[in-house]
């Protein structure tokens, strides 16, 4: 099938209201073909509602959605064949085996990989005869992705694919997704793990309270802090004014929270000695000092003053 070369996902002015909350409050988004795009944000930011509107499972109140150049209203049947969907809360049938489950989903599509290939791609060949109820969390998630890949989709939607998984299972799933990308597929995923976005995504959009509050490559977003490093410290016996901290060499941003201070800095080697000098002069005792490379988490904190896990 020849498809036009427009974006994989385009939406404009998306709004979804529920009786008690505005879940999506005017969202514009464009995802290019072949791209891996991550929607980031805390729980309740509107990520799931947004992705379900794009998946054609929820109808928006306002705004336009175009998926692979098609609209849900006119081309629902064709779109269903071109998309792979993985939902956050689906529990596949515990009483079926891995292979039976994949066969079932594969049967719905008119083309795609063979059942054995799908099992191979998600590394579940050795578990093909196991009941779904007996799988680990990571295996269940990979099975769920295998079902999403059953129609060899052009675009894959994943809603928090690695939430609740241990680090090893997460990496295994990332490998599966990278393989899909290597075949030219487009991915739109939601996550509240910043490291996941960093590893997988070409671009990320940070969502908070139904809006996109930042958009760019992970590198651009981190760079928007104006600093590549973050120095976190806590002091006892004195308090330092924000103005003083801002004057320290290399510092681009100061965030204070619960007695902890985070400094975004471009020059770690200049900032840290100056900070220590400053603390000594003031007679303050350090109770904590750490540094790390700036991450998307720091971007979120600097934009909202909250941590992602605070929700």
């Amino acid at each position: 099938m020849v498809t036009d070369l427009g974006p994989a996902v385009r939406c404009r002015g998306l709004v979804k209201r529920y009786p008690d909350i505005v879940a999506v409050a005017g969202l514009d988004l464009q995802v290019a073909r072949g791209e891996c795009f991550g929607l980031l944000g805390p729980n309740g930011a509107g990520k799931t509602t947004t992705i379900e509107i794009l998946e054609g499972l929820t109808e928006q109140d306002e705004g336009e959605v175009e998926i692979l150049g098609r609209r849900w209203r006119e081309d629902r049947a064709a779109l269903r064949h071109q998309l792979g969907v993985q939902l956050q809360e689906t529990q596949l049938n515990d009483k079926l085996t891995v292979e039976e489950t994949v066969r079932l989903f594969r049967s719905f599509f008119h083309e795609g990989p063979a059942v054995v290939e799908l099992l191979e791609v998600v590394e579940l060949t050795s578990k093909r005869g196991a009941f779904v109820g007996k799988l680990s969390g990571g295996q269940k998630q990979r099975l769920s992705v295998a079902c999403a890949l059953a129609g060899r989709p052009e675009l894959l939607f994943l809603d928090e694919p690695t939430t609740g998984l241990d680090p090893q299972s997460r990496r295994q799933l990332w490998t599966v997704l990278e393989r899909f990308r290597a075949t030219g597929g487009t991915i739109l995923l939601t996550t509240h793990y910043m490291d996941e976005a960093h590893v997988l995504c070409d671009r990320v959009g940070i969502m908070d309270r139904g809006r996109l509050i930042a958009l760019g490559t992970p590198r651009e977003l981190v760079a928007s802090l104006g600093a590549e490093h973050v120095v976190e410290f806590g002091v006892e016996g004195a308090s330092l004014s924000e103005a003083t901290l801002r004057e320290l060499p290399g510092v681009h941003g100061v965030t204070q929270r619960d007695g902890h201070v985070a400094l975004a800095t471009a020059e770690l080697h200049a900032t840290v000695p100056a900070l220590l000098d400053c603390l000594r002069r003031q007679g303050a005792d350090l109770s904590l000092l750490s540094t790390h490379s700036a991450t998307l988490e720091d971007v979120f904190v600097s934009l909202t003053g909250r941590h992602l896990r605070d929700g």
Binding site: L96, R103, L104, F131
Partner: protein, 348 residues
């Protein structure tokens, strides 16, 4: 040619999935197969044909009791029980003696007019005592007791139990599976694929048909072996009827489950749908016991149609052609709720 990567047609895969799911659920297997057999067995034993049984007669322990006892024992066919004078009404009420003779000249009979058993016992006792006292019968009628298989209560009961089982497994089997898939968000996941919604619903009904062959076989086979309840009509006709019954109740099950969000919710609805039919549709006693004004309603119920048709085939050996009204009703009950369910169904 559509490439399904080694999988079969979605309708086949969906039906197989349902079938496997069910067989791997031991409790469900019990309710569908073991339960009706136990039920048939218990009722069969309770209502088995007992041949000519002695009539139980109570005699009040007072003067003349020995004479009455001797007379009845001489006549034969009676089991005589002595009843204390103050205990007569209770003996009748408890069923210890359907009729109690109060010796005297003439004797008196105490019995319950509303109970057929009591009436029969009174007539038998009266005849025996009258003859012993010298009454001469005007003529001796030829006695022709029938012992036709097919006319016993158990013969009448088995088709009703079969119908009831087709109803309850159809409704529960479809309803539970659907609501469970809904609460587990599996329905939502399925509609995110190109799966045909009609095929999904149809697979639930079709998977019922696979069990049905087993269910019907087990019940009919058991009744035949244990109680000598034979099928007088064609087995193909019986199979077709069971099939129609399953389609009919499968469709109804879909409708009942089309919007329910919880297992509790759907259970309540199921009972609401099934209760009237258990009572009205002639499972344990004939639906003609209900007043005429209710008959049009009763006759329109799918279980009434199914039971009537099953009795027609099993007991009377009627050809299907003569049961066209029942068959048409079952088809209507299968298709209209299915179409409604497809419209009303809550997928998320």
């Amino acid at each position: 040619m559509v490439d399904r990567g080694g999988a079969s047609h979605p309708l086949v895969e969906l039906t197989l999935a349902r079938f496997r799911e069910f067989l791997r659920e031991p409790e469900a297997v019990f309710w569908v197969f073991a339960f009706p057999v136990i039920m048939t067995c218990a009722l069969g034993i309770a209502f088995r044909a007992r041949g000519a049984e002695p009539v139980i007669v109570g005699v009040v322990a007072q003067d003349g009791a020995d004479g009455v006892r001797a007379t009845l024992e001489a006549a034969g066919g009676f089991t005589v029980r002595s009843v204390a004078p103050g205990d007569v009404d209770r003996a009748i009420r408890d069923g210890r003696a359907p009729v109690v003779v109060v010796p005297g000249r003439p004797p008196a009979y105490r019995y319950d007019e509303a109970r057929a058993e009591s009436q029969v016992a009174r007539l038998a006792v009266d005849a025996a005592l009258q003859r012993a006292a010298g009454r001469v019968d005007a003529f001796a009628a030829r006695q022709e007791p029938i012992d036709v298989v097919g006319s016993r209560y158990i013969d009448w009961l088995v088709p009703g139990l079969l119908g009831m089982n087709i109803m309850s497994t159809g409704l529960w089997g479809v309803g539970f599976a659907i609501v469970q898939a809904r609460t587990r968000k599996l329905l939502k996941r399925l509609v995110a694929t190109p799966m045909s919604r009609a095929e999904y619903l149809a697979s639930h009904v079709l998977s019922r048909l696979l069990f049905l062959a087993l269910e019907t076989g087990v019940i009919v086979g058991f009744a035949w072996v244990a109680f000598d309840v034979g099928v007088h009509g064609g087995l193909a006709a019986l199979a077709l009827l069971a099939l129609l019954g399953a389609l009919s109740f499968g469709g109804l099950g879909l409708l009942v489950a089309s919007r329910a969000r919880t297992i509790e919710g759907v259970s309540g609805l199921m009972n609401l749908v099934m209760m009237p039919m258990w009572v009205l549709s002639g499972v344990f006693f004939a639906s003609s016991n209900f007043p005429d004004v209710m008959q049009p309603f009763i006759q329109a119920l799918p279980l009434t149609a199914l039971n009537d048709a099953l009795r027609g085939v099993i007991n009377e050996g009627l050809p299907l052609a003569s049961l066209w009204k029942e068959l048409a009703l079952l088809v209507a009950w299968g298709t209209i709720p299915f179409a409604l369910a497809l419209k009303l169904f809550r997928w998320q």
